[in-house]
């Protein structure tokens, strides 16, 4: 996208900044009224996430190799372990190699944690907050809460717990999706959720998809029924938020981080040191809580009508 001066972009830069400022004010009012504390954690850290699908930006700070955070999750969990009350943060996060209409390397995240809440409670709160923020921009109908298994059945005609390679391939072909190499089950599911299901979701409803396959648990707890207690919020094809019933067990964290690093090695990526400060905080005790991360720029796209996240950038290079 060619950005010259303010005047030539389809969205006036001032309108964008005003919409952003309005949104931040509303977010702060929302949480102040609910006694959720705003916190600030470091952007630069010695440790970063081991997630095989996320590439962190490296910096050299004082002769030491450090990373820009991809989310404030680990730092906020350390705070939760330390003083166990509800917290939120609005901050910039960074993910290398993510660039497109809905992705930018640097973006703004709203992340918050509710101690003692279930992830269903938190979904309802996300619903309240986002409805309020979208008020006046989109005439929203009633929100929908649907299980991962059910939405796959509805839009792809397959059961993600039992579908085979051929079933996924068939749905892909029907949707003009032609993967060049063999995909894992997880990769098929991710591709179909984004390119088939999300592509067909209504743009005037908040759709919460919950209870994910175990391989996509990230740091969510796994239920007795073998489902990851995780949810995602979509409005149309835009994924806005990702939330969990947070995993609190330190050993399980270490197991998952080690598994992440194996997958990183398999993908030819460098394995990364686990965040020992996080592990220490988990051993001290993370209270039961539910947490969620919301992409503020994507929400702003819905509020301003921007078609491309780059339209929201102030002062592009």
């Amino acid at each position: 996208m060619n950005h010259t001066h303010n005047h030539s972009s389809s969205l006036c830069a001032r309108q964008v900044q005003q919409a952003r400022a309005r949104l931040y004010t509303q977010v702060r009012e929302f949480f102040a009224a609910r006694d959720v504390l705003e916190v600030e954690t470091p952007i630069i850290s010695r440790y970063t996430v081991t997630d095989p699908h996320i590439d962190s930006i490296e910096v050299t700070c004082n002769d030491q190799r450090q990373f820009l955070h991809t989310s404030p999750e680990y730092a906020m969990k350390r705070l939760l372990a330390s003083f166990g009350r509800d917290i939120y943060q609005l901050c910039k996060v960074f993910r290398a190699g993510e660039s497109g209409k809905f992705h930018h390397t640097e973006f703004t995240m709203l992340e918050w944690y509710r101690v003692g809440w279930t992830y269903q409670d938190l979904m309802a709160e996300v619903d309240r907050l986002v409805k309020g923020l979208l008020h006046g921009s989109i005439a929203l109908r009633e929100s929908e809460f649907i299980r991962y298994q059910d939405i796959f059945q509805q839009y792809c005609g397959l059961d993600p717990w039992s579908a085979r390679q051929e079933d996924y391939r068939a749905v892909c072909t029907q949707a003009d999706l032609f993967p060049v190499t063999q995909l894992s089950e997880e990769a098929y599911q991710a591709l179909l959720l984004d390119q088939v299901i999300a592509a067909r979701l209504p743009r005037d409803r908040l759709i919460f998809i919950y209870d994910f396959p175990v391989q996509q648990a990230c740091l969510a707890r796994i239920s007795d029924q073998g489902r990851a207690e995780r949810f995602e919020l979509y409005v149309g094809n835009l994924e806005l938020a990702n939330g969990y019933q947070e995993l609190t067990d330190a050993d399980e964290h270490q197991r998952r981080f080690a598994a992440d690093n194996s997958r990183r090695k398999q993908a030819g990526k460098e394995p990364l040191e686990m965040d020992v400060s996080l592990i220490a905080a988990l051993r001290a005790g993370l209270p039961d809580c539910a947490g969620v991360a919301l992409g503020v720029d994507r929400l702003l796209m819905l509020i301003t009508g921007a078609a491309d996240i780059n339209e929201l950038l102030a002062c592009p290079d």
Partner: protein, 189 residues
């Protein structure tokens, strides 16, 4: 030829897919939530013109195609080979009738064409956007019929046949848009 990583994908990039040279016409970055990222790409086969859809996992590499466009002067044809010359190097290239394709009907000699080379061999030829050709045959027009509207076929000196307004006469030189095969204007002496 070097391989391209998915994060280098952009419109216009030339790749080898299924053994044939393709150009990327659309490239979409797809990354669902915390999952595997993909590039959803539309490509045109440079030999057949067919457009295909392919989804690449982020991180995959694809072989680049050694495809370049060069301006060359059309020299002549002997019925089976069309001969072109690069003006800077005087290097000559021969292209078959199939490779020259649609462009053949517009060429009489000396025109600057865009020749696409794959691994140094002509892959396709594009005639210049506009050519000036003389009409060799067309039915006489009705005198005074200068109003817009009616058209009649006219055969050009190269063999091309296009539609021209009724007032155009045999022997006239016309400016033609080769991209649309349409009459643009008469060329005044």
């Amino acid at each position: 030829m070097a391989a391209y990583h998915t994060n280098e994908f952009r419109s216009g990039l030339k790749l080898i897919l299924d053994g044939a040279p393709h150009a990327i016409i659309e490239n979409e970055f797809v990354k669902p939530g915390k999952g595997q990222a993909f590039n959803r790409v539309k490509l045109r086969n440079l030999k057949t013109g067919r457009v295909i859809d392919r989804t690449f996992k982020s991180g995959e590499s694809v072989e680049g195609a050694d495809v370049v466009d060069r301006d060359m002067q059309y020299l002549y044809n002997d019925g089976t080979q069309w001969h072109f010359m690069e003006p800077d190097s005087y290097e000559q290239y021969a292209a078959s009738r199939a490779v020259v394709g649609e462009a053949a009907q517009w060429l009489k000699g000396q025109e600057t064409c865009c020749v696409t080379l794959l691994d140094g061999e002509p892959l396709s030829v594009a005639a210049p956007n506009f050519v000036e050709l003389q009409i060799t045959q067309t039915d006489p027009g009705v005198r005074g019929d200068t109003a817009a509207g009616g058209v009649k076929p006219a055969a050009m000196e190269t063999g091309a046949v296009i539609k021209v307004p009724l007032f155009i006469e045999e022997g006239e030189v016309l400016r033609i848009d080769t991209r649309t095969a349409e009459y643009v204007s008469r060329v005044k002496e």
